[in-house]
Amino acid sequence: MDWTWFHKFGSPPHVYRLAGVLTPWFAWPAALLILGALYGGLVLAPPDYQQGDGFRIIYVHAPSAWLAVMIYAVMATAAGVGLIWRMKVAHAVAASCAGVGAWFTVVSLLTGMLWGKPMWGTYWVWDPRLTAQLILLFLYLGFMGLRASIDDLSRADRASAVLALVGVVNLPIIRYSVEWWNSIHQAPSVMKMDRPSMPFDMLAPLLAMLLGFTLYFGAVLLIRLRAEILRRERNASWIREELT
């Protein structure tokens, strides 16, 4: 089997150029999908029979919550690749993920609270999803804190990569334990996204939002990755060719 395509991903100049070329291919579809889904979600979709127009918060809450979890998975995968194949570019990807992930974890918490207020009558309920999301935020903060506390870049890369892998093994256990805990204490849960029959004009904007947010993350990641690579390769000769 030909592995050159794989080794190319280990080459910073190649990834730098590729990221530059790919960015618009993520950014524009993301913008179109999100704008389309906004119209679909806020105007076209009918009000929910129980929650009225309040349910429309799902179109920003669910994609943020999805991004928060997905970015952690991407980060841990990149960290694992970087650790196993000693690939610097993969570590750069993991480092670029954390900040965006933490942002969207906060957004999912805030939108969840804003959804909770009219539904539960209070901003915070120890809902299993929100609780697990809060723990995820601490995992992100730990990852960033560990990176920030180690001066040597290569050690920071590898130590944080080990932490990301430990976190990704733990995350399902944490989620399970929180749900188990919730099932005992019977806190109310309104945020059931898995309702059996969501009509198409409600579901379509949601799917478009999910895809749009994912592509948006792709675009942001590519931009951040280029900055990260430039900083890491500051002494490399290819930068001269690239910038002049």
Binding site: S11, P12, P13, I34, L42, V43, P47, G52, D53, G54, R56, I57, V60, H61, S64, K88, G99, V100, W103, F104, V106, V107, L110, T111, L114, W115, K117, P118, Y216, A219, V220, I223, R224, R226, A227, E228, L230, R231, E233, R234, N235, A236, S237, W238, I239, R240, L243, T244
Partner: protein, 60 residues
């Protein structure tokens, strides 16, 4: 139109939720682009300062 903005009485919760999300989207694009810009400027400054990149470290 005002019907749209009142969102069936949920405006007080719905619009802040959308605003927070929009803020995150804008801020993350903005900081990422600013970061790339400053990394580029930094690299240019190093190049014009006359420190030739050592060719040995190109493909690491």
């Amino acid at each position: 139109m005002s019907d749209f903005f009142s969102m069936g009485g949920y405006a007080l919760f719905l619009w802040p939720a959308y605003a927070v999300t929009l803020l995150a989207i804008v801020v993350n694009v903005y900081t990422a682009r600013r970061d790339l810009q400053s990394a580029r400027m930094e690299a240019r400054r190093r190049l014009s300062a006359g420190s030739p990149g050592d060719p040995g470290r190109g493909q690491s």
